[in-house]
Subunit: 639 residues, 2 copies
């Protein structure tokens, strides 16, 4: 049979010439070094060159424009735009002032630091950022992260366990870059609940409270405190204003034109509550108040930066995690609003803008600033046109830092707790979670892991669980890829998975298999080889039972569709060699169809192309099947 | 344009009907649960059922046959086969006895344990194993592993660093399962050099020697010892017999019929050297000798097994690593010889056989036994027919344990060192390393990392480096997949990567891209989306420069070939949605070609199929291109 086929190949060859010719005469793929150089060139150098080429009028100016988008849109800025931005900026400030104080509280900092953070970073961002709606300032999740991680600070020299934890979480910092959407949904929901529980301290006016963030510690801490005497007045003030804010939001949702009511509600609550406390002297009856807020603008804090000392490693790790979470949040928020308005957010520019905002912030007594979802939504509803609304907000906060701080002395802390509490439901995305459940069960598992991890263990454990499960999935799909049997869709040249297309028909005597892995490598080569051999065995055994007589001719050709395999390593080459040998010993021909560039190149290098024979390598599965069917028909005719 | 296209779709639809129909009416893919159940069924249950079905005469007997292959081939065993096996077995024993003593020495055990290990495990293996040539017994690399890891044993309670090391290497045990061929080549070569250096102790007759295995420690230890007085007689005996053994091997290689000369040379050396020492009383002149070897068969060692105590964790880890290395070696050696003889080794049976051999061994004073490459080669050259040669060898060793042990009292240790040294070059596979270098530079890096790691750090570091680099490669290829532009090969329906096939032509107004990743997921979805958008931008800018006029019509359709994408997660769905939206805002149509089963199912679930519209999902790239080219021609005609 084999010999007959050979002779027919010689006859049939001229007709097939062009196709095989294309495959065999293709150019060499680039080497690893060429690829690396190419990568650097396209990703680092060419961007600048492109920009230079385009507007060659003034290279410095065009470079500046690429770094500071304000130079582009600033030229077209008009008065009626400013009217809208002014309105949006003032609304934003009224929400921002109480939230900033509350978040600073959550982060374990004095209230003025929250306000500082709403001044410098938004100003820098407005010059460098590419989003038009993003409202910059402190946010709840990052504040929580800071407080939970800073409270863990230990001296690594004296405490080896803490030292190990640093190493462990420094790795985490790297992995967090791969937080999936599902992980983020779970993480945010868990963080919202944890933040909410933290607010019980302010709402009940408790003095003793745990520094841990997990549910069990917080609830037991609350439970213990309730045995001590507590001040119900705090709770009355806090919960009544919480109800007021929630009612305002309900109103705003029912009528889109009243968006300013929920936006102003927190500031109104602060003003009312402060006046009530001031007029009734409630601070003497156990109502906790904010007390001193240092008046005045941001002070420089360069002299407070420390770049050595025992905590450097840990601080670096905290910095990395906060930076990544902050950036992820900012880009996610910015992108979702950019999509609504139909423009595209430049991830690299956002990273630059957020980076410089926070560097400038760290030199001027700010803590981590990023894009807040709730305030960005308010900014958007208030009709902001450009990032000028951020500038307006920053200036308003700056003025209030000078003017309002003495007034804020009497602000009850319970009101801050209720403002934070009112912002939390926005972090819990139930419909998003349901959507994920419907789409992908494994992603939902990631979500649940992140949620429960944050809730019952710690922020870091939650993130680690989510990232771990996500990567396990990638690795599993690499080490256990599928090998599908293909069939021809009748009257076409299309070959499809016979499970996906039950109407696809197999050709007798041929087995067509597709390897669905981008790498045929050490981790899966043996598995794939065994899978292929098992499929062959199954075909032979299956047909055995029915037609014992035809046994010798059951399977003559196995066609391997390699169109999805992007690369081989030596283990992959060895597996293919073994497969070829094993089939050859059973008088079965191994045929390779549509090998990719690099794969074909490696087959040549490994001389496998010679062993399998060039005539048995085809451009497409259809071509291969046609060839063998024709060869068989001719040989039958001859018999 | 878009509206026109719509109307043409309605006209063109009937002709396309069958193809889209196939795609849209395909069955639902199995759920995760169904897949899991199916996996269990095919991998755990069906095997037994199949076997039951086939030979239903006696299920117990057929089960026994599947566990003990000896019941199958034993029936056909003939006298002339036994003659060959006897000859091979005796040759094997003559090589095995001195090697076993030497390897026991290397593992830090008394010499009789090496001999015990050559008795029980081969007997068990001969009943359960599926290889015909594999020679079972102690091997060099596993002996080295044992000695290097056991000497590290520390009390985990008092020493936290050691405890961390356990955790670290327990993880390693899992990863070692994925040792690639390249890693193994590097590891073996490194181990050979390390083992060779360890033999310097015996060759020079040194008393003080390091227990570490890295090159630096060993060489400094040798250097220090040379300052002390040492016995040159040891070196004279050792090196002269090493030369004798190497000469014998050279002879054996030149004439294949003299294969027994190198096989007998070690035993002859032992006998000669022992006689010389015995007759000249050389042991009084500083020649180190083996001294007492306990005579008698294997003693039961059940009472010596300890399943608790402070070292349990570490011992478990050592056990796991040794078991995996041993099994990997046995299967690699067995498979390479099985391929020569043209039969197939059953990996599962091998695992069972090696497992039971070593369990039985651990109950009868044996240490780890596996398939030795050098002895298997001798067995093969000696013309063994079945695993009976192992039985012959085991019985011969058993007899010699009773008879020879008193004689071996005077065997110089230097001779054992030279026997081990002579076996080492077989572990260094230079041509294999060259082959890997030619095939795959990254694999070669893995090889070098394993080699240098073993040589300069420790066995564990070497393995960890190799596995780490290998997995980094898989993960990198997952997070940075390629997106290729496709072009049509003239006069065919074949679309190929335009880099691979430079003659492939693009169709004006269409951009065809292929995603070469099996998962469109959190780790690469943003990257792929950005890549696609950049490709589109490049096309538009590129054509911009040349023909400023046609700008509006540069790109109307982007065809995404998803034939290699096996799965989506929610991040992938979001990325596709964003891509669709972004393109739609530029009046460009996103077209999806040849989506796979699960991918299409998820697109349906996510309602993305409705957004992209069913008319824009095609079975193949060719179909999609034809459709849009036809639509455009018709609309041009109408203009």
């Amino acid at each position: 049979m084999n010999i007959e086929m050979q002779s027919h190949q010689a006859e049939a060859a001229p007709a097939e010439e062009p196709l095989s010719q294309w495959l065999i005469n293709m150019p060499e793929p680039p080497t690893i070094w060429q690829e690396f150089v190419g990568y650097i060139r396209t990703n680092v150098l060419s961007k600048k060159r492109n920009k230079m080429k385009k507007k060659s009028s003034n290279p410095v100016y065009s470079y500046l424009k690429s770094v500071f988008p304000i130079l582009i849109w600033g030229r077209q800025y008009k008065l009626n735009m400013f009217k809208k931005d002014l309105m949006a900026g003032l609304t934003l400030a009224s929400l921002c002032i109480p939230q900033s104080i509350g978040y600073a509280n959550l982060a374990g900092l004095d209230p003025e630091y929250g306000l500082y953070t709403s001044v410098v970073p938004p100003l820098i961002y407005s010059m460098m950022g590419s989003s038009r709606e993003l409202a910059i300032g402190p946010v709840a999740v990052v504040s929580l992260l800071l407080s939970s991680m800073v409270s863990d600070l230990q001296d690594p020299v004296t405490d080896p366990i803490a030292y190990r934890k640093i190493v462990f979480t420094a790795t985490l910092g790297f992995l967090v870059d791969f937080l999936s959407h599902a992980a983020l949904v779970g993480f945010m929901a868990g963080a919202a609940i944890v933040i909410g529980l933290q607010q019980l301290k302010g709402l009940f006016g408790l003095s003793h409270f745990t520094s841990k963030t997990d549910v069990v510690s917080v609830l037991s801490s609350v439970f213990h405190s309730l045995h001590h005497p507590w001040q119900p007045l705090n709770f009355v003030i806090g919960s009544s204003f919480l109800i007021f804010i929630l009612l305002a939001r309900f109103l705003g949702k029912r009528n889109k034109k009243l968006f300013w009511i929920p936006a102003m509600a927190p500031l109104i609550s602060v003003i009312l509550a402060t006046l009530i406390v001031y007029l009734t002297n409630a601070e003497t009856r156990g109502v906790k108040i904010v007390k001193n807020i240092k008046p005045g603008f941001n002070r420089p804090s360069v002299n407070q930066l420390e770049f050595n000392g025992p905590h450097l490693g840990q601080v670096a790790k905290i910095g990395i995690i906060c930076a990544i979470i902050a950036l992820t949040e900012a880009i996610a928020v910015g992108r979702s609003f950019a999509t609504i308005k139909g423009y595209r957010l430049d991830g690299n520019k956002e990273m630059m803008a957020m980076g410089f905002s926070n560097i400038a912030g760290s030199l001027t007594s700010c803590y981590v600033a990023t894009g807040s979802f709730s305030r960005t939504a308010v900014n958007f509803s208030a009709g902001c046109e450009t990032v000028v609304s951020n500038i307006v907000m920053a200036i308003t906060v700056m003025v209030s830092l000078e003017v309002l701080t003495r007034f804020l002395y009497f602000t009850p802390t319970a009101i801050l707790a209720s403002i934070i509490l009112s912002a939390l439901p926005g972090l819990i995305d139930i419909s998003g979670a349901l959507h994920i459940w419907k789409l992908d069960k494994l992603d939902f598992l990631v979500l649940v892991a992140a949620f429960l991890g944050v809730l019952f263990a710690s922020v870091e454990i939650g993130l680690l669980l989510a990232v771990g499960i996500s990567f396990t999935r990638i690795i599993l799909s690499s080490i256990r890829p599928t090998v599908e049997a293909l069939g021809r869709l009748s009257k076409t040249d299309i070959f499809g998975d016979i499970n996906q297309y039950p109407m696809a028909t197999k050709t007798q005597g041929l087995l067509t298999l597709r390897i669905s892995s981008p790498l045929l490598c050490f981790a899966n080569a043996n598995f794939i080889r065994d899978r292929i051999l098992n499929s062959i065995q199954k075909v032979e055994e299956g047909e055995d039972d029915e037609q014992e007589v035809k046994r010798a001719k059951v399977l003559q050709v196995v066609i391997l569709d390699m169109s999805c395999v992007m690369g081989l390593d030596t283990s992959g080459v060895v597996a293919l060699e073994e497969l070829h040998q094993e089939l050859a010993s059973n008088d079965t021909q191994l045929v390779i169809a549509s090998p990719r560039w690099r794969v074909f190149h490696k087959l040549k290098r490994a001389k496998l192309e010679e062993k399998v024979k060039k005539e048995n390598i085809f451009m497409t599965v259809g071509e291969a099947v046609d060839f063998y069917v024709r060869a068989r028909t001719t040989s039958h005719d001859m018999c």
